[in-house]
């Protein structure tokens, strides 16, 4: 630690300063949103809020608690995130495990079958028609089944599985274990970090996804959280539905900011775990499969 403080040149200070500036720019919008959500109507009206709340109050949050739409949407998103992450992980692990076997016949063709979809696809409209044909339209399944596997995550996981020493698996074969047992008892326990990484990637993806809901969900009772936020933030829905006491547009502004906070909080909450794993995941992905 002492070694690192060897010398403080002007150049080094400048670099630290610029990095600090970048960091502040990245952080500022979050601070602004939080400050707005805790500020009084007057302060928001006069546009005085910069970084810290002015005339601190929690009215916006009390109001949010009463918004049933937000909480029902959050419940939808929680269900979709859990089910989607589970399905995505199972499918990705199955594909990656099988196709990581160098001895498997037809491995190359099967891999190309998957990788091809990275470069070419039916696109938005044909996929939409297929999902409709399958009867998934307006069901929660449409929010996670059509995008269950990400090719990128498949490549990352396959790369990881390939690095597991073959000798471990061979020893288990000799002891009479089958592939399923080997996957469950040997491969998966060794792969917990990568499973955590990719599971978190999927979970964040499902949590943040609004476009699937925009495409496939018609019934407002089944809106996902992000789609609900979109309609609250951008179409003044909050204005028309809020109670008379807080019916002014400015109150709606801090309500909007409070709903942003509520919708992003879960991401921020898992961020420390996310961060622990994602750098490694991002690196593995850049090593081409």
């Amino acid at each position: 630690m002492n070694k690192e403080k060897r010398h403080f040149s002007a150049g080094y200070a400048l670099i630290c300063g610029i990095v600090l500036l970048f960091t502040f720019i990245c952080l500022y919008p979050f601070l602004y949103v939080i400050a707005m959500s805790f500020s009084s109507t007057n302060a928001v009206l006069s546009g005085k809020v910069r970084i810290f709340p002015i005339e601190f109050q929690i009215n916006a949050y009390q109001e949010i608690l009463k918004k049933k739409q937000i909480w029902s949407s959050m419940w939808v998103t929680i269900k979709v995130t859990l089910a989607g992450t589970l399905l995505s992980l199972v499918l990705t692990i199955a594909a990656a495990y099988v196709l990581s076997k160098k001895k498997l016949k037809g491995r190359k063709i099967l891999s190309s079958f998957i990788l091809f979809t990275m470069y070419f696809g039916g696109g938005m409209i044909p996929t939409f028609l297929v999902v409709k044909n399958l009867g998934l339209y307006n069901s929660l399944g449409a929010l996670f089944i059509p995008n269950a596997i990400s090719v990128f995550n498949f490549i990352v996981m396959r790369t990881f599985f390939r690095e597991i020493p073959e000798s471990l698996e061979e020893a288990a074969y000799l002891d009479g274990a089958n592939d399923f047992q080997i996957l469950i008892r040997i491969v998966l326990p060794l792969s917990l970090p990568i499973i955590a990484t990719i599971g978190l990637f999927y979970a964040v993806g499902y949590w943040n996804d609004y476009f699937s809901a925009l495409l496939y969900i018609q019934d407002p009772n089944k809106y996902s959280l992000q789609l609900r936020l979109r309609s609250l933030l951008f179409t003044e829905e909050l204005n028309s539905t809020s109670s008379e006491a807080v019916g002014t547009p400015v109150m709606a502004e801090s309500l909007k900011m409070a709903s942003i906070v509520v919708g992003t909080l879960p991401i921020i909450a898992i961020y420390p775990w996310l961060q622990k794993y994602f750098v490694k995941g991002a690196m593995l992905g850049s090593v081409k499969g």
Binding site: V19, C26, G47, Y97, M124, I125, Y210, A282
Partner: protein, 323 residues
């Protein structure tokens, strides 16, 4: 052996018979791999249903799609949809905007990401570095809906933080969201804000693999910090830079739908309408399935051509291909 058989009986009684007759290596592997192929069935099913079936659905680009007749039953109509598509000025505008927004974003984000990576790499205070990196990566994980909500708040013409500051300094409000030029500015800023920290990861990884002894040798030879950066660091990470640049260029015709759709509004439609939002508005909102499929197919084909060209160029200049 008994142990092995025991497991097999439990998991697959039918194939046990074969194994007993001649427990040769070949059958051992066949049986073993059969289970692997079984694992793959749901995966294949997924790809057939949600990726390859839609590819077949692309045929409606050449059909007069009828909701009741479905993809197969609709009648062929040759290039009628293509003529309709390409005679609409919005197609050309959305292509122009897609390329334009991508190029401007790349021109700003690409150098800034490298500069930020180089600076982060210089920082020797571990704690300071860790905290700044944590904050820099954060925007990547925030949804576009939320980002757009924040951007609309901060850049609002009335009551927005930035215009508030400008007004304080005696400058009149800037129409960040409603003027074409300023909207492009806002779009680029939002994209760079969301992507720059995440973008540094790959460069930082490349930077840590630079051989330390090169710096020491240069230091002994009297090279300044700046010279070492110019003559050692940058050449060492050049391959990563080139690969990233080629990758970005190969995605020029692709644009995420989130940012243009969520940041855009009717006032700036001239510059915010991109290919993906055009497909969405035409296909989903107006139910013009065939015409919007034409656009999607056209985009995919152009994408593949650009990708192959980029791969060719990459190999031509001696870099690793991207395919």
């Amino acid at each position: 052996m008994r142990n092995r058989k025991g497991n097999m009986i439990k998991n697959d009684p039918e194939r046990k018979v074969v194994s007993r007759k001649d427990g040769k290596k070949f059958l051992f592997y066949l049986r073993k791999d059969l289970m692997l192929y079984l694992f793959l069935i749901p995966v294949i099913l997924y790809y057939v249903l949600f990726k390859y079936w839609p590819m077949y659905g692309l045929t409606i680009a050449f059909k007069d799609y009828n909701v009741f007749k479905g993809i197969t039953g609709s009648a062929w109509n040759g290039l009628t949809n293509w003529v309709t598509t390409f005679s609409n000025q919005w197609l050309w505008k959305s292509i122009r905007n897609t390329l334009g927004l991508n190029l401007i974003t790349l021109a700003v984000e690409f150098p800034l990401t490298i500069i930020l990576s180089l600076m982060l790499n210089e920082i020797r205070h571990v704690k300071f570095k860790k905290i700044t990196q944590s904050i820099l990566y954060l925007p990547h994980f925030v949804s576009w809906v939320v980002v757009a909500g924040i951007v609309r708040g901060i850049f609002a013409q009335e009551g927005g933080a930035i215009n508030g500051l400008l007004n304080q300094a005696g400058i009149s409000s800037v129409p960040f969201m409603s003027n074409n030029g300023w909207w492009i500015f806002t779009y680029v800023v939002s994209n760079v804000w969301k992507g720059i920290g995440w973008g540094t990861i790959i460069y930082l990884a490349a930077l840590t693999s630079v051989d330390e002894s090169l710096y020491e040798a240069a230091y002994i030879d009297g090279a300044t910090k700046f010279q070492r950066t110019i003559y050692i660091t940058i050449p060492m990470i050049k391959p990563v830079m080139v690969t990233m640049l080629i990758l970005s260029v190969s995605k020029m015709m692709n644009i995420g739908l989130d940012a243009p759709l969520l940041l855009g509004n009717n006032k700036v439609m001239e510059v915010s309408q991109v290919i993906s939002t055009y497909i969405y508005r035409l296909g989903i909102e107006k139910a013009q399935y065939s015409v919007s499929t034409v656009i999607g197919l056209f985009q995919s084909v152009v994408n593949i051509i650009i990708l192959l060209a980029a791969d060719f160029v990459a190999k031509l200049i001696g870099e690793e291909g991207i395919l």
